[in-house]
Symmetry: D2
Subunit: 325 residues, 4 copies
């Protein structure tokens, strides 16, 4: 059995610790919130007073998994570990970091002999039971050393049908973890994964919006059709081309409330959708769908409506159209 | 001097009558609103009690210009004229009609020996002074016969620099009127004109929105820049690549109020932007910009926000993200 | 056991017959291609010499499922059945018809006392084994009468986890068939399904394109990352947010050939993606992702590149940029 | 009369020197290409052997305008000038620099007491005769000092109608130059200008593409319309809403060759369209049109067609659609 330190015990970090402990691994944990530590300690983890104590507690070669919000919190923790860890140890960023930051950090840590892994971790609130899909970037040696950890976190084969013609390929991929490539590759693949996620979500949302509006009074009476979205999404789960986990979740939400009345309709975005578009721009790859999905979220939060005002001003200018408040 | 009947004396129809009369042409006019008739009669037009009276008043071969809202009003007037007019007369739809309707109507009228012209008319509230850009579809004979009318309505060469290498081409094009082709061609060209207009407007509006947001608090302090949009649009009018009439109008609106506070930000759309997209779909021509411009208007009026709610429901489902009201 | 006539024995029609016969139903079949008939007769179907013979063979109340290309072939078959069928019989269009055509046809057939059902049928080449997802529009009585047919065609519950809180809803939805609403509702739901399918496919395709280009020489050397797309798609099948049948298919294609070298990159589109956009335009629902997905297919087939030429001409005009052949 | 150094004598730099000399200003010039120097010297400029010699030749307080390709060439020149210039001098970047680089450079130069101006310069090959639209960022003092230079370069009022209600605003804006704000503001405004330019160009290009395809054989025979694009763009120049300089240029290109046959249809992009999208992403401003315009250029150059191949592979997977080479 392996041991690992876990820094950051939010929903993701705490459940990662729990899934590892269920598999028999030992977890030394820390969070800035003592309550968060206590909850995971209650499930069997060993608490650390701070990062230094965590490093002292773990036996070399150490592995410490940082699961913090991207940006300053993660940056600070990795920097601190760079000072505390010894050659042969490994620092892991399991959060949602811009992959270029990984490239930079890995070079810094390598100078100290410390390994660095960037791991894109998908699974959300379901990961504890369902397992986490792990996309790993970094050198081969620490990946090989930590394979038991990845085996425990990943979903495993389950009853998902095997893809034909994968003979000769690394079997761990079918377990749900992949060494994607060198430093940054893990977060790059996770970034694009989230970009695709945005696009798929928006595709579904637009389709539902179309069906909702199909009984619009703007249509001729004999062209108005009312459909039950909870039933539509449910039937699509059965043998249709759009079957997907996102559809499962949507069907469940609509079964609970077909009007989705508890949501305001304004949608946040994390960094990865944005970085995906920036990557597209840098590499000159047209990604109209991934970008439209991001912009739909931006537009959902646009309180200013300045672009619309500018359009109205032009319309008033040339056509006398009046679109006042 | 020519004479013409004008049906529909809204902003466009009334000013078309006035511009024709200024050029010495005789206008017989009708509108369902007696006040509208009186106003144009005060400027020299001859009133008609109804369409039949208008037809009686005009000498053959007659020309009657219908300038009504598209759809039922125009459809009804053209049908009525079909019954009233004689072989050799011409019915003109100067409004914003779907060009396929022109094709259908022209066939019906042709069976009665009546000519039909579809004329896309651009110029808005400025047309009386600035002239109207006329895009004409139909047979050559009635177009030739009505050239004096078109000469009077079009802006004329003015001080717009001539385009090189147009030797041998019809000089009326540089006056501002074009026989675009057969039935429907006039409204097709006008439809696409309006599609392009939507795209250009949205390009400008997005640029201004970007500049407005350039001092966003989400940016690092030394990357926040505040610009004066009235001045920016004014300077762009002078030697930049984006100089355009739409920019002129925008600069004027911003000079009056840089916040455009009197507009709500919800933007209407007439039929032509929609027909443009439908044409694109039917002919498999990718028009991402023209379509995005139309959808931005749709989105500006979206009260339901159902697509956003669906996204929030999915995010809650997989990630526990909470985006309630 | 029920009996049904099937008109059109292409890949879809033939397999629908086979799946029904496996469930013990009796199929009377016709196709313009005698070989196609023979193949299904070999599996147990009863051949008909023509539509009239099929009608004669079936006992009233009859049901005849038309599975032909949309447009003229389907239109002709439904019209012919309208003449042949008797009050109480049902004509079914299981193909990909524009739902407005269903509204029209249903009114015509109703005048003769003949029922009409429009059924969106998803399942493709996998339907024989996996079952077909059925989206049905029409009156309740023929739907109820044909429930055994739909039960046999639909996938059934299988091992797909039940959606919570569906108590009290029609259980057949979880079997994979849904009475969506009145005439046209089935094909409307299928149309939007296909629109969503286009969007999801494009989201995946763009993500893969981004990963492919991540080792672009345009990037700084330390920012080039090479990933194995076959492995990436495989790992995403395991616990990630984008797990979906489309991802399964993509992973299989990439396992066979990561370069997808046998495809040219030009992509066709059937009517439903287009109708989806037209529905969006008619109901003023912004669908940027569904539309971008359609336009990407249009662009993939654009041999003319005229829009690009126009851009180059403008660039040459203002900047002297030279982009010749 | 003022004097100025000009570094970089490409099309833009050389013409800027010429326009300044025509107004009576003295220009000391340098370029890495001696031929380029000789051409401008023939028009009256004073050559410099290198940057150091240029600095020696100019009297304090000096102003040196760098007009080089963005990235390394400009970066190097500004850095060199930082070493050579004295407190009170000004370094000007008149090229197309990312505005964040201006913020950084200005801070570096300020530490040495050297002023820095970032000037977005629009006008292209027509600037010599038409004048340059100048968008200036930096401190007020050097802007005031260099006003005579800007007056000479800008187009001046010409016969462009004045915008109402600009009383009390800086008159130089109507001359065609604007002090947009602090460091970076000039290039920010120019960046967005170019973003808008991309959008307007694409709007026009799509409209023309639609008209070109309006006689598509995919349409019913009576719905095919052939129009002359040279005439259409010419008539739009006269009183229509889309009148613009880009339209003028397009009409000229089409008058020369309606098929635009000398262009391949693949379109380049400079940095500013990309930076515009990145700015949009950073400030969460939805810019679907500006982004679609950029992506259309990317797509025009996509040799790989990998996204299309991925779509074809999925279609083959679920539907047996065959789209081979």
């Amino acid at each position: 059995m392996a041991e690992i330190g876990i820094v950051g015990l939010g929903r993701m970090g705490a459940n990662i610790a729990r899934r590892l402990m269920r598999a028999g691994h030992r977890c030394v944990v820390w969070d800035q919130d003592a309550t968060a530590i206590a909850a995971v300690v209650a499930d069997g983890a060993l608490p650390a007073a701070d990062l230094a104590a965590m490093v002292d507690t773990l036996a070399a070669p150490r592995a410490i998994w940082v699961m913090l919000p991207h940006g300053e919190p993660t940056e600070g923790a990795i920097a601190a570990l760079g000072d505390l860890l010894s050659p042969g140890d490994a620092a892991i960023d399991g959060g949602n970091t811009q992959w270029k930051d990984d490239v930079r950090r890995a070079a810094t840590l390598r100078a100290k002999g410390v390994d660095y892994l960037d791991i894109g971790t998908s699974g959300g609130v379901w990961g504890l039971e369902r397992g986490y899909c792990l996309m790993i970037g970094g050198d081969a040696a620490p990946v090989a050393r930590l394979a038991p950890i990845f085996d425990a976190l990943a979903p495993g084969r389950g009853d998902i049908p095997a893809t034909p013609r994968r003979e000769g390929r690394a079997p761990n991929v079918e377990q749900g973890w992949l060494h994607c490539g060198g430093h940054g590759a893990g977060h790059l693949v996770k970034m694009v994964h989230n970009g695709v996620e945005y696009g798929m979500m928006q595709a579904l949302a637009e389709g539902l919006d179309l069906l909702r509006a199909a009984d619009s009074r703007a249509l001729p009476a004999d062209h108005r059709i009312t459909v039950d979205l909870a039933d539509v999404t449910e039937v699509w789960r059965r043998g249709s081309v759009v079957t997907s986990w996102l559809l499962d979740l949507t069907a469940a939400a609509l079964a609970e409330d077909p009007a989705l009345a508890k949501y305001a309709g304004t949608v946040g975005d994390s960094g990865e959708g944005r970085w995906t578009v920036q990557q597209a721009v840098e590499t000159a790859v047209p990604t109209p769908v991934l970008t439209a999905a991001l912009y739909a979220r931006f537009a959902s939060r646009d309180e200013t409506r300045f672009a619309g005002k500018a359009l109205s001003a032009m319309r008033a200018g040339f056509g006398g159209h009046i679109e006042p408040k």
